[in-house]
Assembly symmetry: C2
Homo-oligomer: 337 residues x 2
């Protein structure tokens, strides 16, 4: 199995990307990595070239580049070349920790959409208090969505949760403003109707945002706008809470002593809310696994993402989505080219 990795994307590229790759090839003997980026810089950190091939390029997409334009103009960017290798059949999947919007555009324009899936969806796995986590999609690949898109998101999330997260008959829920069937806006009401009337996956109904972290579903479906809002609200609240907790813990000698007692547990608490352990965010709906590692990924984050992508290839996630997509076909769905 060959995995294309963008060595130049993310806050700690290429060093942490290369170190993560080193760790992955040492661990998994069945993978081969194609590393795209600045050869000189990559070589500074590459200690072993076994099953690692460098494809040199000077060009890269910056984190603040306008996504669609960057992908069109920077045809030799490390991210674009990594996707091109997948398109050309030289690699089975690709990974980048760089510009999220650009990776979505690259996936869509270079690798291409699965026939029958109208819109790709970005899907991270988020933490729950139980440590089980859940897949949520779409987290921002599209600002507008139609009910049939959400119906398809449910299928893609369910296939992934079953194959990679090893959850039997995953519970797929629709994020809504209330749990009753009649609740919501036009989009959620119609989506509920479509999801209820399919049997490709296990639809358990509406869930509310306040229960997301309570392990009430394995897959949560929403439109990209709402998903983005909810994800950022969770992140922002977590960060605000941690910063206030930190201030409390440093407030006077007694608290500092107490904090030292609690240090290990508080680190664990923080780690529990850090969802990079679950791997990167998948771009579902394209013809091969494309995964966005966190921008702040260290070597371990990259290793985790490679492990995740390896599993996606091995368990044929994309092939399964392709073969099951007809089960959620709705009259009036856009034609796919």
């Amino acid at each position: 199995m060959k995995i294309a990795v963008d060595a130049m994307g993310g806050d700690h590229a290429p060093k942490e990307i290369v170190l993560g790759v080193m760790k992955a090839v040492a661990q998994y003997k069945d993978i081969e990595i194609l590393l795209f980026g600045d050869e000189t810089k990559i070589n500074e950190h590459l200690t072993d070239k076994t099953r690692v091939k460098i494809i040199h390029t000077d060009e890269k997409i910056e984190s603040d580049d306008e996504p669609v334009r960057a992908v069109k103009r920077k045809k030799k960017a490390s991210m674009v070349l990594a996707a091109q290798a997948v398109k050309d059949g030289e690699a089975d999947a690709c990974i980048s920790a760089g510009n999220t919007g650009a990776l979505m555009s690259t996936g869509l324009f270079v690798i291409g959409r699965i026939k029958g899936i109208d819109r790709p969806a970005l899907a991270p796995t988020l933490p729950t208090v139980t440590g089980k986590g859940f897949v949520m999609l779409d987290l921002g690949a599209n600002a507008e969505a139609k009910p049939e898109h959400l119906l398809q998101f449910g299928l893609m999330g369910s296939v992934y949760a079953e194959k990679v997260r090893k959850i039997e008959r995953p519970r797929v829920a629709l994020l809504n403003i209330g749990t009753e069937e009649t609740k919501g806006n036009e989009l959620t009401k119609k989506s509920f109707e479509l999801m209820k009337n399919q049997d490709a996956y296990e639809f358990i109904g509406n869930i509310e945002a306040r229960d997301l972290l309570m392990d009430v579903a394995d897959v949560v479906v929403t439109d990209g706008f709402t998903g983005n809002m909810v994800l950022k609200s969770i992140e922002g609240t977590g960060a605000a809470f941690l910063s206030m907790l930190k201030m409390s813990l440093l407030n006077g000698f007694k608290n500092k002593v107490a904090a030292s007692f609690l240090k290990k547990d508080l680190m664990e608490l923080k780690a529990k809310m850090d969802y990079s352990e679950y791997g990167g965010a998948c771009l579902f709906g394209v013809q091969a696994p494309v995964v966005k590692a966190h921008g702040s990924s260290n070597a371990n984050g990259i290793f985790t993402t490679i492990r995740q992508v390896r599993e996606m290839v091995e368990k044929q996630v994309v092939e399964t989505i392709k073969s099951e997509v007809d089960k959620v076909k709705v009259g009036g769905t856009e034609t796919n080219d």
Copy 2:
């Protein structure tokens, strides 16, 4: 000034409602309270009848009643009668800790909408890490929204923040998936355009959900669906975090000792995230102040809400909205009846 209070709404009605009223009339000599509900039960807790008048009714709206239907059928419900008193000029404002949807329907159908405001909006004040807080609207009065509604929400929030929260030239922001002007869905893009091109209030542009608690704006405008999602995400994350923190603190003898050291500060931390201190959620856009106290309000929560409503009446929040609404008039806005 006369304030109509629904004595039967909320988890701790009528006891805590009555105790809150007692506290308010003792503190503010310029208010008179009309208390709607079961006279016998109210009298069990009423220690002083100075400036308090009970209007007896057997009927009440339950927390799980379907809002619109309940308001139409239960014409003698304590909540409906309280609103009717405002409509009839017998009271200046009304308060309930009961069914939120029913209170919104009551406000809209009984008291009526302000001419020029197309949709009412529900607006709580949420906490920030600095303790300053911000007003957010709409939090669920409408599941669908148009750009001109959001434009009007900005005005209503700004008037309230200035008059009641005493913030000079409040910073009004649009909640969006990115800070750049070009970001968002159709609704936020068009709303941005409208808000940018008015001068009735200070529009500072887009803000992201992750910064909400960081004191980046005084008024945050969004559609009711997104607002509801974001509020519940914040609440859910806060609750998940507190429950995990609690588990950590009870994890072994050493942690319990540390927890006892930190008790006071952790209670403060919890209190900081508890936004009932800022009062209830205002239903803006109706002809008089209508405020939803938290369902779990204790006497102090009711007292705080009465204080808030008193301020709204005194500072003429509704009158100011009425007189300024023409400043945000957009061609194509629905006609108001």
